[in-house]
Each structure stands twice: as C-alpha cells, then as structure tokens.
C-alpha cells in the first residue's frame, strides 16, 4: 500500500490519491434559489478513516451530507460515494451508509431496542437479524443496560448514542454523523468522541463527522475537510492541519498598537483579536520573539496564551490562500 494520499484543495479529479477515496465530489454545486447557494463548486475527496467535516453553521455541511445520501439532487457537478454515483444509485449508497442526523429524531414512547430493531428492518435486515444487530449496536454504544427503557426517558447523551446505534444497526461501510456532539456536556462530548474514534479504528467503518467546532473533532480525525459558504477552504491530513492552527494570544494593558508594529518588524504577522493580538506559532522561537518584543517595549503583559485558532479564523486565513490557489 502507498502512503495515505495527501489531499489538497484545488483541481485534481483523477489524480492517484483520489482512487481509494470513500467519497469524491467534483465541482459539486447546490443552489436552492438563485440567491441561496449551499454548495459552490466543491471538489474534494474523503479518504478511508475518520474525516472531520468542519464549517460554520450554514457552511453547507448538512446539504453536502444530504447530497451524499442521494436525498437531494445536486444542481451541477457530481459526487461518488463508495464507488456509486449519488444521482444514479442513491438506494445502493443508503444500503451501505448509516446516517445520524443533527436534530432530534427519536420517538419518545418506544424502547431503545424497538427503535433500533425497527430501523434495522428499514435498512433491509430480516427480522431476526435486525433484533440481533439492534442488541449488538446498542451494546457497542453503551446502552445495553438501558435498552428496554423508553427513549423518552433517556438523557441527552443517551439519546445521541441511540441515534448513533440506529446508524450502526445496518452494519454500514460508511457513517455520516451530523454534529454528533451537539448539546452534550464536556463529559458526554468526550465519551461520544471516544465512541466514534473506536468505531472508526476498531470496527473498520469509515466515518464522516461534521462539526462547527474544529477543536472538538480534530483529536479523533485522520483528515479534515473545511468548507465555508459552500466552498472548500482546505482539505488535509490532521497533522498538517494542527501545525497551522496553533496561535499565541497576547494581551497587553496598553500599547497594543506599538506592539503590533514591533511584532511585524520582527517578522510575525500579528492580527487584532478582541482586546489582544494573535500570532501564528512557528515553533519555539515564536514565544521568545513575543517575549522579547514585549520586554523591549516595556509593556505590561496581561496574558500570553497558546491556543487553537477558532474555526472562523481558519476560514479567513485559508480563504486568502484559496483565492490565490483557485486563481
């Protein structure tokens, strides 16, 4: 086997890397009305493994997922999922794919087992197999003890897990998870992410997990696809992604303008962010440079914090790059 394909934005349908892709889109466009464009010429490939689909609310994540399931016809362009065209073979794709919607989709007055069994049957499993697979999926998501309880009595975390179980019940080759951590508390989020990670690595099921929070899903993803306004901003492996997403937040009580000039003079590119400044971290020396600049100016340093850039900032920066790249 060759090394994992390095998937970059930009033209490249048919290049060697995309041959093994689980999902491939070419100039995929979806317009709802002449004003509302949900997807705008999206060309991207999703490698096997866990891929994070990141974008702000309204970036086109849910639209993309619906097109990939063959539920929404694209306005133009094409998409191929597990080797099947979404327009021609939606049913085949939906046989092989499990989908966990973002919104609440649970009837309150059935038990976890009944719910998962029924949806197993709806996935095409015979009656007995559906029962077995339902028990199996509920066990894997950690709801085995609670499986005879009514879904309406579940906690938010358990509801998210039963949603995941119904996606898993048909033994899919691909899972599309739309904002699986939404509404969960920190503990619930991390156990959901652990679960997704385990499904992706141990069960051998490829996963696309969408989120508007990059920091949240990047820890479990092999690859990230970032979209904004229906356009691809960046598609890359996780390692190259985290390198650029580290920034340093500097807050001084006064002299922010002077510090900005000083940092620029020292070769950094500071940006205003609220009351502070953000600079990109290029290794250890960045911290030293900032320290020296603040000391030389004699400014009262209030805060020096290493953090991930918020996803909106990634959009802005990479957006500039993309404009150059797209030409």
């Amino acid at each position: 086997m060759t090394a994992p394909p390095q998937l970059r934005a930009g033209p490249g349908p048919g290049d060697a890397g995309t041959a093994a892709a689980v999902i491939r889109t070419e100039a995929l466009t979806k317009r709802y009305t002449s004003e509302v464009t949900a997807l705008d010429g999206l060309t991207v490939a999703f490698a096997p493994g866990i891929t994070g689909l990141v974008g702000a609310n309204g970036a086109g994540k849910s639209t993309l997922i619906k097109i990939l399931l063959g539920l929404l016809p694209p306005t133009s362009g094409r998409a191929v999922v597990l080797g099947h065209d979404v327009t021609a073979s939606g049913e085949r794709i939906r046989t092989l794919t499990g989908y966990m919607p973002e919104h609440d989709c649970l009837p309150p007055d059935v038990t976890g087992t009944e719910f998962a069994t029924h949806l197993g049957r709806m996935s095409g499993l015979p009656a007995t197999a559906a029962k077995e697979r339902a028990a199996e999926s509920l066990r894997h998501v950690g709801l085995y003890e609670e499986r005879y309880r009514q879904v309406g009595t579940y906690s938010t975390g358990m509801k998210q897990r039963v949603k995941l179980a119904q996606a898993l019940v048909g033994d899919p080759r691909l899972l599309l998870l739309d904002e699986p951590t939404i509404g969960l508390d920190p503990a619930g989020r991390s156990s959901m992410l652990d679960l997704i990670s385990r499904i992706g690595t141990e069960f051998g099921i490829s996963i696309v997990v969408s989120s508007h929070l990059l920091g949240e899903i990047e820890q479990i993803c092999d690859q990230l696809v970032v979209i904004d306004g229906g356009k691809l901003l960046r598609s890359d492996t996780i390692t190259s992604f985290t390198q650029v997403s580290q920034v340093l937040l500097i807050e001084v009580d006064e002299g922010t303008a002077a510090l900005t000039a000083e940092l620029a003079a020292r070769g950094l590119q500071p940006r205003r962010s609220g009351r502070g400044l953000l600079v990109q971290i290029d290794g250890e020396q960045t911290h030293d440079t900032v320290r020296d600049a603040v000391a030389d100016l004699g400014l009262p340093l209030n805060r020096l914090q290493q953090q991930r850039r918020r996803v909106e900032e990634l959009f802005r920066d990479n957006g500039d790059e993309e404009e150059r790249g797209d030409g």
């Binding site: 539920l71 609440d104 989709c105 049957r121 095409g124 499993l125 197999a129």
Partner: protein
Amino acid sequence: MTADNGAAAGLAPAAGAGVIHDLGYQHYDGPRLGRAAIIRALYWHSLRSAFGIGRGAKAKIVPFLAFGLMCLPAIANAVAVATSPEHTRIVDYDTYTYALRTLVMLIFVAAQAPEMVSRDLRSHVLPLYYSRPLRRLDYPLAKYAAFTAACLLLLEIPLIILYLGTIVSVGGGSAVWDQTKALIPGLGVAALWAVLLAAIGLLLASFTGRRAYATGIIAIYFFLTWILARILVNVASHGAQPPPGPVPGPGHALVAASFPLGARLPGLISPFTVIDGVRQWLGGTNPGPIPNPGSAGVAYGLMFVLLLAVSLGGLAARYRKVGAS
C-alpha cells in the same frame, strides 16, 4: 467465582475477577432485503400500530373499543337469528347499521390516522427512513396500505361474523348460498369505505405532528360534512315528498322547486354519504342515509374518485415536501 462455576458454565476459568466478554465488532454478512421487503416490513409495523399492538395498553383502548362496537350488530344478529323461529337476518351486509358504522369509523380514523403519520412527523423520525434504501413515496405508500388494511379489518371482520352468525342457524345449502351472494357486495362496499376513509384520514393527519390537532381536524371534517349532508337531505326530502300532514316551514317553496336534485345532491358533501351514493348507484337497494341518487349516481362515482385522487395526490405531495426539507 470459582473455577468450578466457570467450568460448569462452559467458560475458561478466570483469574479471580469477573470476565469482560468483549466480543468485538461483528460485521453482518447475512442477507440484505430489497426495497419491496422493506416496504412490506413498514406495512406490517404500521398495521400493528393501527391497533396499538406493540405499544402500551393505552394505545389499544380506542381501536379495540371501536372493533367491539362494530361487532355488536353482528353478535346481536347471531342471537336473533338463532332464537327467532324464522331465522331471518336482522342486519344488512351492505349498509350494516350505517349510523353506528359511520360513528365507529369516524372515531377510529380520527384517533388512529394520527397514530400512523403524525407521530413520525412529531418526532422528526422521517430523515431516518429517507436515509435508508427507500424512495420518497414508499413511506406514504406503506402507511396508506397499512391503514386501508386496518380499516378493512375493522369493517369486514364484523361482516364475516354477521355471515357466520347467520349461516349456522339457517338451514340448507341454498340458504347459505343466498347469504354468500348477499355478503359479497357487502364486502365490496366495506372496501369502498376503507379505501376512501384511510386516504382522507392520512392526508389530514399528515398536515400536523400534533396528534390532538390531527384528531380534531379529522373529526371535525367528517362530523360537520356528515351533519350538513344529513340536514340538507332531510330538509330537501321533507319539502319534496308531499307528505300527509303539516307543511314544512320557511324555504319550503324554494326546496320543493328543486326537488329532483335537491334531495339527491347534498350527499356529495360528506365522504360517508358519497360512499353510500356509490353503493346505491352500483345497485344497492337497502335504504341508506341518503335517497337513491338515481340519475345523479354517476356524480357520486366521480366524487368518490375525485376525493380519493385528491387525498392520495395530496399525501404524495406532502411527503415529497417533507422529505426534501
């Protein structure tokens, strides 16, 4: 746990503590059924839920009460046929105590059509159906087939009881054959009821996810149109037939002037009277809730087809829209 216990249970003896049986993830390599089988599974699931089977005890109250009520005339008939010296049937197969039948069907459709479709709308479960190997219209198709079947069971099982209750008492093969000949059109009329009421009920229920609203909309529609049709028919025929006795009140002249159609057309307003108009148009002679439509019979036939087409077309349009959002 001792080693003995472990061995007895057929397990490898564990070193002291309990054993974690992590079987790992098992892929499914059994058969996968196609779209037709999935629709069939949804049909059965829905048919069961129409009678509250697979749900709690509360969900069974209305359907089983409706079923019990609907069977009463058939049971009363069985007793009457057995005890009367002439062994004559007291309930007709085609009209089957139409007032009771109308009431029971109104209650059943108003209570159970929301069970079929409003629940799924309420809990937003449709995306889970659509993300499976079903097409847009498979869901309403399965629901309609299931609800029609549920109505058929409710309408026709009492007819079968009526038939059986009669033939055990009547003597002779020719008498049984007579009953059978009378039963068959009765089953056909019941099918007309089921096909139309299920379609209208599901369409109205599919407009809202709130069960109470859906039940209210259906009950009000069925009840008001039924009452209106009955009133108009009564007023019109009252004025029309020159009855011995006091002359009807104001409006008499107006109604009497339009006699031929005035009494025969109001039945087009209510689905229940439309069905009965079709029954009489097709040759049913037992008295029903409306006068025999005579030459206007074809209008009842057309109205039946129109109501059915509008209901099913509306249902399809509704689910095309729900699925796309």
